[in-house]
Structure formats: structure tokens, C-alpha cells
Amino acid sequence: MLTVKILGSGCPNCKKVESIAKLAAQTMGMEAEFVKVTDYSEIMKYPILSTPGLVINEKVVCAGRIPNQAEVTTWLANAEMEAA
């Protein structure tokens, strides 16, 4: 199962990213664990320069913007292929 982390202090953009990522996983019928990371010292461990950040299986796929559902779907599919 994939682990999807959303990095961000809880700003409106982080919530958008979370809902888009969840929707993408749901549409694909994929099971994934969603973790919200709000602590800045945790967030800083990832190489990002602005939030929100989206991390799939410990790999940063997107930071500083809101991706669209198609992009997230591609990343999730790629991550699953790598994991398999």
C-alpha cells in the first residue's frame, strides 16, 4: 500500500491538495494511507522550498502548487509500479 504525505501547516492550498489526492486515489480504486504533516521541523526534512508538498512513498512529487487530478493519478500509478 502506498503512503501519501501532505506537507503543509494547514493552509487552504494544503487542504486542496489533500482532497485532490484523495479523489485521485479513490477514482483509481487504489488503497493508500494519507498522512498530514503539519510540524515544520518534519516538513523541513523534505527538500521543498514551499508548501504544500505532496510526497508519495517518501518521494516528493510536487511542491509549492496545486496539482490537478490527472497529474496525481500519474504519480500514484508510477509509485505503484515502482513499489511492485
Partner: protein, 490 residues
């Protein structure tokens, strides 16, 4: 009974302040400013600036680049802290990181435009120039004081800063037209204020309506208060409509555009046009003047509308509208509460108090301005109506600037976050320098307001920076020799 009437008067003062702010100041300056902030966040790729913030970039590029990053990229706190930590830990180091941290809140585009619109362009320009100079100055000082630790700091890769991206030319033009819209709407040039055509509407209700509004929201020009005009009342109504339609059209914009998206966007353009008209009610009806301002706004709005429809990609338009709306949603409610509260507080403070403490451009006055700024934390932009209240109560413009620079800069919350990233000692040293430089900024600007010529002011500034550089060079040199000496002994 007396108590009740006092409460009533306070409430009325709050509402009056709010209404006159919404009508007079918000529209032509804040509405474009929110859109500019949104466009900057959505359309400027961070890599255009961050690639100059890596470890291998020469210092004379990385400091100005950090200042630029503070201005262009850090409109939202989502960027400030991660980028600050990134520059400090993996990029150009402590100095540029501190410059970035200082500049970001000091010359945030929204705050700058709002200061210019409400208090005056001179103060906004002083805030911009002095913040730039001092931001870079504090960065260099911090880097020198803590240079040993900074050198030890990890020699990790520059990968985080290697990304390259260019801004699309269309996006640049879009941003420039937004700026033109702001300039046309707010700047007090003669050719913008002049009326080129006017029409008469025989609306006999206009004057009684205006009188009714003045009675409803009584005001005293001597205290710096403003009334609500008939045009203002109409604009407040349109603002409410924009809020409602945006809620329907922009809140869920990531699921696609809908009719409400376009209705709210068109409504914004229409509101700006109404705001730029000169409306004068008189006994016979209503005179509407088409000023240079109106034509400037009209041209900009048409051009922007065309660009949104035909030139920007769907992604760009969506991000632009969403980011602008996000700022409005985050900041506007707090601003409304703040302005209302300022209206109430204004009734309770006696001008004599302000006059006595900060009526002159004295060192004490400036220090008081800074201390007030440090201990009071107001949400973004609320510092501006508060500053205007102080100004109307007799505060000198020098201490006012000292307050305006220190308030967004230093708050307990931001000090704590900074301390978590760079350590307590560095954070408090930084706070000390910011307090010193804010005081100094106030003194320098105050001297200029009091009539000292710009050349002399500039001389003060340069000689202060020279003394500072001299001291640091001296300390640096001595320590360098000690280190060399120590090395040769071994």
C-alpha cells in the same frame, strides 16, 4: 444611561470607520493589489529567483536575489518559512536567508500598496527603500557575526536550487497590466484626476440619499474621519455581491470553471469602473464625471479580460483566480474586524497622549513606535489602519514608519519559528538588529519629513553604514588574524 450611550457611540464609530474604509480605500487600491498578489503567486515560477540562491552563487548576486525573492515569491506564508529554511540550510547561507526573512513581510505587495493608498505614497516608498537597504544590511551583519558556524554548515548539494524556469512573456505582460490598473486607479496625477467628459442624471433622490448617509454615519473631518458617499454605498453593495459570487464560482474552481466564476470576475471589473467614476450628487440630480482615472481603468480592465479569455492557459487562469481569492479569504475578514476595532479604539485614545509620546521625531518617539510594533501583533494589513489612526491622532510620520516596519517584522510567533530553524541565540540577535534598524529608519525618514534635505539624509545613511561596515571589518580582521596566528603555532 450614560454608559449605554457611550457603547452606542463606540459602535457607531466602528461601523463608520468600516464603511468609509470599504468605500473609499479598499476598491481601487486593494482589489487590484489582491489580484497582483494572486498573479505573482500563480504566474511567477519560483525557480526564476531561487536558482540564484544556491551555495555556489556569488554573494553580490545572492543578497539582491534574496531581496527579490522576499518581494516576488513570499506573498504567502506558505513560502516564507520553507524558503527561509531552505536558503539557510541548503542554499546561500545565513546572510541571504536573513535578508529574505526581513524583506518578505516588510515589502509585501499588499501591505505596500495599502500603505500607499491609505497613508501616502511617500511613506510607502520610504518603507520600500529603507527595508531593502536594511534587509541586505542585517543579512550581511548576521553572516559576519555567525560566519564560523555558517561555514561549518552542511556542504550539501545545490540540487534544491538548480531548477530553471522562465516566466512566460504573456504572464509578464499580464502582471504589468495589473500594475497599470493599480497605478491608474490610485495615483494622484493631474491627468488622471481631470474630467474629460461628464453627464447629468436627473435623479432627484441622489442628494437626499447622500444626506441620509451622512446622518447615518456621522463624521468629523478634523479627527481624520470620512463619511460614506452615495457612490461608496453602491460600491459596498457590489463588494458583497463579489464575495457571494466568488464563493460560488471560485471556491470550487479546481473542479472546473462555472458560470459564477465569470459572473464574479466580470463583477470585479464593473466595480472597479464604478469606483473610478467621479460622482457628485446635487439638488437637481447627479453629475457623473469621466476622469482620466476612469479611462485608464477601462483600458486595463478590457485588456485583462481579453488576456484571461484568449492568452492565458486554463491552468494559469485557474491558479490566478484561486490564489487571489485565497488571499481575499485569508486576509479580508480579519481586516474588516481590525478596521471596526480601530474605529472603536480611536474614540478612546486622547490625541494628547499620542502627541506627548510620539508627536516629535525624537529617539524616544521612534523607540516607542518600535516597541509597540514588537509587542502588538496584528494580522496582515491591519497594521495600516492602525497606523492611520495614530497619524490622525497626531503621531509624527517618523515614529509611524518605525512602527510600520517593526510590526509585521517582529511578532512573538515569527520569532519562535525563526528560533526553531536557526537557534535561539541567532534569532534574538536578529531581533535586536531589526529593532535597532527600525528605529533608525523612523529617525531618518522623520528627519526628511521635518525638512532635512535628501542629500543630508542620504549622507546620514551612508555614514552610518560606513561606520557599521568599519566596525565589522575590524572585528573580522582581528579574528582572522587570531585564527591565522593559531594556525601558525600548530
Amino acid at each position: 444611561m450614560e454608559f449605554l450611550s457611550l457603547i452606542g457611540r463606540l459602535f457607531q464609530s466602528g461601523v463608520g470607520n468600516l464603511a468609509s474604509y470599504l468605500a473609499a480605500h479598499v476598491l481601487l487600491c486593494l482589489l487590484p493589489a489582491f489580484y497582483i498578489a494572486g498573479a505573482m503567486t500563480a504566474l511567477i515560477p519560483k525557480e526564476t529567483v531561487t536558482r540564484f540562491l544556491g551555495r555556489s552563487t556569488p554573494k553580490f548576486i545572492s543578497y539582491p536575489a534574496s531581496a527579490a525573492a522576499g518581494f516576488l515569491l513570499a506573498v504567502c506564508s506558505c513560502t516564507v518559512i520553507p524558503l527561509f529554511a531552505g536558503i539557510y540550510k541548503k542554499g546561500a547561507g545565513l546572510g541571504p536567508a536573513i535578508t529574505f526573512l526581513f524583506i518578505a513581510p516588510a515589502i509585501n505587495i499588499l501591505a505596500l500598496v495599502y500603505t500607499g493608498g491609505v497613508i501616502g505614497m511617500d511613506l510607502a516608498i520610504a518603507r520600500l527603500l529603507l527595508s531593502l537597504t536594511f534587509g541586505i544590511g542585517i543579512g550581511i551583519i548576521m553572516a559576519l557575526i555567525f560566519r564560523r558556524e555558517d561555514k561549518e554548515h552542511d556542504k550539501a548539494t545545490d540540487a534544491l536550487f538548480a531548477g530553471q524556469a522562465a516566466m512566460r512573456r504573456a504572464a509578464v505582460i499580464f502582471l504589468l497590466v495589473l500594475v497599470a490598473l493599480l497605478v491608474a486607479g490610485t495615483f494622484q496625477f493631474d491627468f488622471l484626476k481631470q474630467a474629460y467628459a461628464q453627464i447629468e442624471l436627473p435623479l432627484s433622490g441622489a442628494q437626499p440619499f447622500q444626506d441620509f448617509l451622512y446622518r447615518l454615519v456621522p463624521f468629523d473631518p478634523a479627527r481624520g474621519e470620512e463619511g460614506v458617499t452615495a457612490q461608496g454605498a453602491l460600491l459596498i453593495g457590489m463588494l458583497v455581491l463579489i464575495g457571494l459570487t466568488s464563493w460560488k464560482g471560485v471556491e470550487k474552481i479546481h473542479e472546473g470553471f462555472n458560470a459564477w466564476t465569470w459572473i464574479s470576475t466580470a463583477l470585479v471589473g464593473l466595480t472597479l469602473l464604478v469606483a473610478s467614476l467621479g460622482v457628485m450628487p446635487h439638488t437637481g440630480g447627479l453629475t457623473i464625471a469621466f476622469t482620466g482615472k476612469f479611462f485608464g481603468v477601462l483600458l486595463s480592465v478590457i485588456f485583462l479580460g481579453w488576456m484571461i479569455k484568449a492568452v492565458l492557459t486554463e491552468d494559469e487562469t485557474r491558479d490566478f483566480l484561486w490564489e487571489s481569492w485565497k488571499f481575499v479569504k485569508q486576509i479580508f475578514p480579519l481586516l474588516i474586524v481590525g478596521v471596526f476595532a480601530v474605529g472603536i479604539i480611536r474614540m478612546l485614545i486622547r490625541p494628547e497622549w499620542i502627541e506627548a509620546v510620539a508627536g516629535q521625531n525624537s529617539v524616544v518617539g521612534n523607540v516607542v513606535g518600535v516597541i509597540f510594533g514588537v509587542f502588538m501583533y496584528f494580522p496582515t494589513l491591519v497594521e495600516v489602519p492602525i497606523a492611520q489612526m495614530f497619524l490622525s491622532l497626531g503621531m509624527h510620520r517618523g515614529p509611524l514608519l518605525a512602527y510600520l516596519i517593526s510590526d509585521p517584522e517582529l511578532s512573538l510567533q515569527s520569532i519562535l519559528i525563526t528560533a526553531a530553524i536557526i537557534g535561539k541565540l541567532k534569532a534574538w540577535v536578529y531581533v535586536g538588529w531589526v529593532a535597532l534598524f527600525s528605529t533608525l529608519a523612523g529617525l531618518i525618514y522623520g528627519a526628511w519629513v521635518d525638512g532635512t534635505s535628501i542629500g543630508v539624509v542620504f549622507l546620514y545613511l551612508v555614514s552610518f553604514l560606513a561606520v557599521l561596515a568599519g566596525i565589522l571589518w575590524f572585528v573580522n580582521n582581528r579574528q582572522g588574524r587570531v585564527v591565522e596566528h593559531g594556525a601558525s603555532v600548530h
